[in-house]
């Protein structure tokens, strides 16, 4: 008796079908940038904020004018130097009398003009945030022997309480617009 076999399905065109679908998805794909600098804005209040008496040594004033020039504590600075200088200000390793008493008391005050370009603003904000991130990393390395991102939630919280991120943004001036 001859055994009848089921006819084999021709799979030769399978590759073509898959290719068509592949090309469709290749064309429609936009690998999106969904990354950015996350910030938390302060809540709005209609009353003007109360005058606070701050010790001048604890305030690091950063100004960006309408020509995208950077003025830090009254002196011109290259954006490339901002990160290192901010770190020194916050940590104050040599305990200088014109820098922050302790990281807890350090306040970064950022002010820009309405004519400042967004690019320059992001550049400066990025450097300030980077200064804090690097400080957190160094502190985590010292205390726990790990990078900041590898820490447990509680450890991160404790670390952030020691070096709180305080970037205060003032109402911008409007000379350049």
């Amino acid at each position: 008796m001859a055994r009848r076999e089921a006819p084999e399905v021709n799979a030769g065109s399978m590759a073509d079908i898959a290719f068509l679908l592949l090309i469709f998805f290749l064309v429609t794909t936009t690998i999106d940038v969904d990354k950015g600098i996350t910030v938390k804005l302060p809540p709005w209040s209609d009353e003007p904020p109360p005058e606070m008496k701050l010790n001048e040594r604890n305030v690091y004033s950063v100004l960006v004018n309408a020509n995208d020039e950077l003025l830090v504590r009254g002196q011109l600075m290259r954006p490339g130097d901002l990160r290192e200088n901010t770190k020194i200000f916050i940590a104050n390793p040599q305990a200088l009398s014109n820098m922050a008493e302790s990281p807890k008391k350090a306040i970064i005050s950022l002010k820009n003009d309405r004519g400042t370009s967004y690019e320059a603003y992001i550049k400066v904000y990025n450097e300030l945030k980077a200064a804090y991130n690097e400080l957190w990393d160094e502190e985590a390395e010292k205390k726990f022997g790990r990078t900041y991102n590898e820490l447990e939630y509680e450890q991160k919280k404790a670390l952030r309480a020691d070096i709180p991120l305080v970037i205060s943004e003032a109402e911008p001036t409007s000379f350049g617009e």
Binding site: L22, F25, K35, P79, K123
Partner: protein, 157 residues
């Protein structure tokens, strides 16, 4: 032994293409998974600024996008070239942000609403004036979590 020798084929054997569909399918699945269908067509020109301290936005459904930039060429005649705000598919004003965020909130489950993020996708050449106005409005409507969309930078400043 001699018989086996006789049976051996001469010349190069054809390469089997039977696994080709599988390879293609794997590629296909990869692209299907990473594909994000564009949800709104851009009417403003947006070139992201560069930054290094980037954080990834986790849940797409919790993110509302605010596009800011100069209108694209075909809209210049009607709208001029001053920076404009685009929400969803249309040019909008600052005051429309409130309704927009309210609508976005409706689409999100109540216990997730505090985790919503407003993603500001602004062109790097716009001035801070319009950005400040948007930020102020966001503060007024109590949407405090904000993300400035940026591309990764590799070179030093």
């Amino acid at each position: 032994m001699a018989r086996i020798n006789r049976k051996r084929k001469r010349g190069t054997p054809a390469i089997s293409t039977a696994s080709l569909p599988d390879i293609i399918f794997i590629l296909l699945f990869f692209f299907m998974v990473v594909t994000v269908m564009k949800d709104s067509t851009l009417k403003v020109e947006v070139n992201y600024p560069y930054a290094t301290e980037l954080q990834k936005l986790e849940k797409k459904s919790l993110v509302s996008y605010i596009y800011i930039g100069s209108p694209q060429k075909q809209y210049r005649e009607k709208y001029g070239s001053a920076p404009r705000i685009q929400l969803n598919d249309a040019f909008k004003e600052i005051k429309d942000l409130k309704i927009f965020m309210e609508q976005e909130k409706q689409a999100v489950a109540e216990n997730q609403r505090s985790r919503m993020t407003a993603s500001i996708r602004a062109d790097k050449d716009v001035t801070m004036g319009i950005i400040t106005d948007v930020k102020t409005e966001l503060r007024k409507i109590n949407q405090l979590k904000v993300n400035y969309s940026s591309k990764p930078r590799t070179d030093d400043l």
